[in-house]
Symmetry: C2
Subunit: 174 residues, 2 copies
DNA sequence: TGATATGTAAAACGATCGTTTTACATACGA
DNA sequence: TCGTATGTAAAACGATCGTTTTACATATCA
């Protein structure tokens, strides 16, 4: 279905640039180039549409994190910021906007963060040799989130700093 | 003015817990225990109220960062998270919700982030001895933002991990 | 040919948005 | 005692919210 792809990419763009609550259905229908009847048939409703957007974003993001080294994780984040810009983590922003009381959204957000953390832990384990280092994995997660957040006002420099910091931490944990 | 204090603390609570856009003026008047006429006389409007909330929050946060060591910065963040909970940075969340096109809000957010970064740079300079280390300061900023963001789904553990990471980075920069 | 699916355009739904206004009460200081 | 300030309660403002419905067009395929 071509219609669904158009809807999802238009919705992701608007939600990301203007926020979930502030984006009205009329703006969504206009940007997706379809009637509201068709939009509701495909997406179900606003919250379900946001959940679908986040599910798709999770897929795209996790694909970029199919790497073997901690350094490559931050290289991937650098690419992401350069291509898509830095407006903060859409998952956390949406969770914050809805106060956590939109079930469909909360579930996707928490699931994404869990698999994200798991992926980082795997990569850290490979880099360290030997068993996993839970503390180092937590540190890398924090650096990744911090780079994402700080890049909003510091730009790509924040990601570069996180990358260097991760190198130091990995080295000192080895 | 007692009225203004009641308004600001009620507004901060609601904006922080439910988001800026999703919080209606009726909920604000009810929580602050005042008529909408009085609210508008004191605050001017919704955007100006949010700006006032952020200004007050900046004051409170910066007060907690009147410390001498990088380690104390993260100790302060631990206290904050324990007392106020972890719902992410209200400044960045609000900036994200408004897409950056509410002037009154954007100005306070950017000003806060600038002074925050400056404070971190000062503390880093004291800890390192000798001139400032711009790269280390950027790393500490990233760790602080990352701990704030990751604590939403990882809890206080995220702050503890950031604290340890900062220790390692400061040591290796010395 | 005629049913089924898939789309648009546009109006309507009741609710809620941020804000202003009208009308009235109370306290304080000249 | 009279004006000024400061408050409440409640209605009204037009706009916009998310969602559903009505009426109609087009394409596919048995």
């Amino acid at each position: 279905m071509d219609m669904k792809r158009k809807l999802l990419s238009a919705a992701e763009r608007l939600f990301d640039r203007h926020g979930y609550t502030a984006t009205g259905m009329d703006r969504l229908t206009a940007a997706a180039g379809m009637s509201s009847r068709t939009l509701y048939k495909h997406a179900g409703g606003k919250a379900a549409l946001m959940a679908a957007v986040l599910t798709e974003r999770d897929r795209r993001l996790m694909q970029r994190l199919e790497v073997r080294s901690v350094d490559a994780v931050f290289a991937a984040l650098e690419d992401w910021v350069r291509i898509e810009g830095a407006r903060g983590c859409l998952f956390l922003r949406t969770q914050g906007e809805t106060g956590g009381d939109t079930r469909e959204v909360s579930e996707v957000v928490m699931a994404h963060k869990a698999t994200f953390r798991e992926r980082i832990a795997e990569i850290v384990a490979v880099n360290i040799g030997g068993g996993g280092d839970a503390e180092l994995a937590e540190q890398v997660v924090v650096l990744f989130e911090g780079a994402t957040a700080a890049a909003v006002y510091r730009g790509p420099e924040a990601v570069a700093a996180a990358r260097v910091a991760a190198r130091v931490l990995v080295e000192s944990a080895r």
